[in-house]
């Protein structure tokens, strides 16, 4: 018997992965959570049927969303992570000795619980003494924060579900207030390829551009996400993502990574013409 998991990337495009075992399935207060084993991508976490993490390619996403801002902001010590209940971002952050505090705001305790049990390779550092998990609505949490963080990492699901509030102007504005004067916000900004995703990416970029003085987009290749092609937003009050990169300082940390390098860092901000055009359209 063959078991296949399929995800619609558009109503007319389907991405399928053969699976061997369904390990976890639960409808939480917010979403449908599933974890299963696959021969090609290892263990996979899906939320509402969308791939969130696979053991095989999560390193690309988690490294790119973490090390890009961490290598630019050399004094980032107090960090807020939103979403990311699987623990991948926290795992990367805890590799920095300078990090003093990681507040993780995740609305769904069931995601954290499930990943602790079934995705230990991601959730392995959730017990780090610097990590505090807040099970709360992120908008509510961040409304109360002012001048409090060096870095905010927004690791949300796509903008069409329970994470919709994390793609709004009110949210980006609250992030701006919650950051110190040299703070950085990084967010996953979806795929620029298929029309619906591309529009969402433009909308979110438009709102960030109007909130932060510096706003750039960078890219990565992530096989299990729509079109295999993903973007991140880099919004900042002071540091430029490329000009203020101190590659030597980061390399001196001797951190082994599998995707991120300081050379790739610069390249990731060089975007294809069609993406540049889409961004410019909303920057005016």
């Amino acid at each position: 018997m063959e078991l296949w998991f399929s995800e619609y990337h558009t109503p007319d495009v389907k991405h399928s992965i053969r699976m061997t075992r369904h390990l976890y399935s639960r409808k939480s207060e917010f979403q449908q959570i599933d974890i299963f084993d696959t021969p090609e991508f290892g263990r996979v976490l899906t939320l509402d049927g969308n791939v969130i993490v696979t053991e095989r390619d999560e390193f690309i996403y988690d490294e790119m969303i973490t090390h890009v801002p961490m290598s630019v902001h050399k004094n980032a010590r107090d960090i807020l992570v939103i979403g990311a209940g699987d623990g991948g971002v926290v795992r990367e952050l805890t590799r920095y000795d300078r990090v003093r505090k990681i507040d993780l705001v995740e609305m769904d305790p069931d995601v954290v619980q499930a990943c602790r049990e079934f995705l230990p390779s991601n959730a392995c550092r959730m017990e780090d003494r610097r990590v505090r998990i807040h099970y709360e609505n992120a908008l509510k949490f961040i409304r109360r924060c002012e001048d409090k963080y060096d870095l905010i990492i927004v690791d949300s699901t796509d903008p069409f579900g329970p994470s919709e509030g994390l793609f709004t102007k009110e949210f980006y504005g609250s992030c701006y207030s919650a950051l110190h004067d040299d703070g950085i916000m990084v967010n996953q900004q979806g795929s620029p390829f298929y029309a619906a995703d591309a529009e969402a990416m433009q909308r979110s970029h438009k709102r960030i551009v109007r909130t932060f003085p510096i706003s750039r987009v960078y890219q990565a290749h992530i096989p299990t996400y729509a079109a295999g092609y993903w973007t991140f937003g880099f919004a900042s009050k002071k540091y430029h993502p490329v000009d203020d990169l101190d590659g030597d300082a980061w390399n001196a940390l001797n951190m082994r990574t599998r995707y991120y390098t300081t050379r790739l860092h610069k390249g990731a901000f060089c975007l294809p013409a069609f993406v540049e055009e889409m961004l410019q359209e909303v920057e005016q």
């Binding site: 609505n137 908008l139 509510k140 961040i142 409304r143 329970p162 919709e164 509030g165 709004t168 102007k169 009110e170 949210f171 504005g173 609250s174 207030s177």
Partner: protein, 484 residues
């Protein structure tokens, strides 16, 4: 109020439509789209399910003009659910319910006692029937600049001074959720031989929730207009007209039929039927949740600073006898912004549409369809608007209730010989048309009223602040029609 829950589980119109669908009756009657086949674009847009029940009145589906079977049963169930002697399903909006109430109790020359902050549909009804309004000046909360309910003493005085008035009308509640002492007003009206009418456009949930202000039927009022499509969850334009035991049902039906369509929409009627069932079975729990959400939002908004989301603390035993705590109204003047400005920011910058903004306040309408995640967005957006746009509050104008000077009946003025004059030259003249600030749709001028300098100042200010002004023939409101 006792409801028979077993019978409330029924929805006769809905059931009849379901059965009708299965009968596959061949339509050689109207509507001409014939279950959508003749209009594929409309069917694709609205959905097959929807167009297939857009049908004509016929024997198995009854007729709203003279209901004898399934519509009659649906009305009986609605009456039972709302504790009324009878309930009429209405398809012309709550405007049609309000007009039917007025036309039932008044004829030409009769007086009717009304708070000035009535909905425009009430004054339109006076134009239709020729009755004369006796306005009661609702109290104004000086800090918030909103009109409150009527004080008992004011009603008493109006009744004493106009002993021949036919009825007293009350908003239960106002747009902002303020309730007058309805039980006492009903007693005073009845003691003077008058009927008591309630505009419950914003009070459907009073019949089903707990800890909410008293409903008109429970307070002994004689007629009430209930906007089921607001807090009741039915389709836009569907409404209910409730009557008590002392109002003649057959006469009300005749009055309704004067202006009601003879092709009532089954979409609207079935939505009333299904919504009534939902309210009867689950209303208590639903409105408990809505009230909890509103309470939560009030706390969060009041934590932001500058804003004042008001609630039950406004009650004063008289002009604010009770407050509907499912309403979420926020005073914005202390951050230096008019309510209408905050309303515009929310829509233009944050993609959040709220019910209205007036000079000093906004109102976000919460209902059974709301979720916490959207409520968080609203609160955060308000916090952001304060952070980015806060101003000095000194320059704002205080909204004052302006005492109308009624010179003649609205009907007489509406049909009188008139001329158009520039706004600035109209002072002292008698207006022959409406000027409304919309929303919330409370008249600044009604036909038959004298135009004063104070009124002209108000119109200029409200226009400047971007309130939508409607009513006059001249859409830009640079001119007014006045009596010759």
């Amino acid at each position: 109020m006792k409801r028979n829950l077993t019978s409330q589980m029924r929805a006769p119109i809905y059931e009849a439509l379901e059965q009708f669908r299965q009968m596959r009756v061949v339509p050689f009657d109207v509507p001409g789209h014939k279950r959508g086949r003749g209009n594929p674009e409309l069917s694709a847009f609205l959905g097959q399910q929807c167009v297939s029940i857009d049908v004509n009145s016929m024997k198995p589906l009854d007729n709203l003009c003279h209901p004898v079977s399934v519509i009659r049963e649906a009305e009986d169930l609605a009456a039972q659910a709302f504790g009324a002697a009878h309930a009429f399903l209405m398809v012309g909006g709550t405007t049609s319910s309000v007009q039917s109430m007025v036309l039932t109790v008044c004829k030409r020359g009769d007086e009717i006692i009304l708070p000035r902050n009535v909905h425009r549909s009430v004054i339109n009804a006076l134009v239709l029937c020729g009755a004369v309004p006796v306005y009661i000046n609702p109290e104004v909360d000086q800090r918030l600049g909103i009109s409150l309910g009527c004080r008992r003493e004011q009603i008493e005085k109006a009744i004493r001074e106009h002993p021949n008035a036919k009825a007293v009308m009350v908003n239960n509640p106002t747009y902002y959720g303020v309730c007058s002492d309805l039980r006492a007003i009903v007693k005073m009206a009845h003691a003077a031989g008058m009927l008591c009418l309630a505009d419950e456009a914003h009070g459907t949930h009073f019949y089903f929730g707990t800890g909410l202000p008293v409903s008109a039927m429970a307070a002994g009022a004689d007629m009430s207009s209930v906007s089921m499509h607001k807090s009741g969850g039915s389709l836009t334009q569907s409404s209910l007209l409730l009557i008590g035991p002392d109002v003649h049902q057959g006469y009300v039906r005749q009055i309704i039929n004067l202006t009601q369509t003879t092709s009532a929409s089954y979409l609207l009627m079935s939505s009333l039927d299904i919504s009534r069932r939902n309210l009867a079975l689950r209303g208590r729990q639903v409105f408990h949740q809505v009230a909890d959400m509103a309470e939560y939002a009030r706390e969060e908004i009041n934590t932001i600073g500058g804003y004042y989301a008001f609630g039950k603390e406004l009650t004063n035993g008289n002009s604010v006898f009770d407050f509907d705590h499912t309403k979420l109204a926020v005073h914005t003047r202390d951050i230096g912004l008019a309510g209408i400005e905050v309303y515009d920011y929310l829509r233009d910058e944050y993609d959040i549409q709220i019910e209205f903004g007036d000079i000093g306040n906004i109102l976000a309408y919460l209902s059974m369809g709301d979720r916490m995640q959207e409520l968080e967005r609203l609160v955060s957006a308000l916090a952001e608007i304060r952070r980015l746009h806060q101003k000095d509050s000194a320059s704002l104008f205080s909204e004052e209730y302006i005492d109308p000077i009624v010179e003649m009946s609205p009907q007489e003025a509406f049909y009188a010989e008139k001329e158009s004059v520039p706004l600035e030259n109209s002072e002292g003249m008698i207006c022959s048309e409406f000027v409304m600030c919309y929303p919330p749709g409370i008249p600044i001028l009604a036909p038959g009223e004298r135009i004063t300098g104070e009124i002209l100042d108000y119109i200029r200010f409200a226009k400047e602040k971007g309130c939508s002004m409607t009513g006059p023939e001249d859409p830009d409101i640079t001119r007014l029609n006045v009596l010759k």
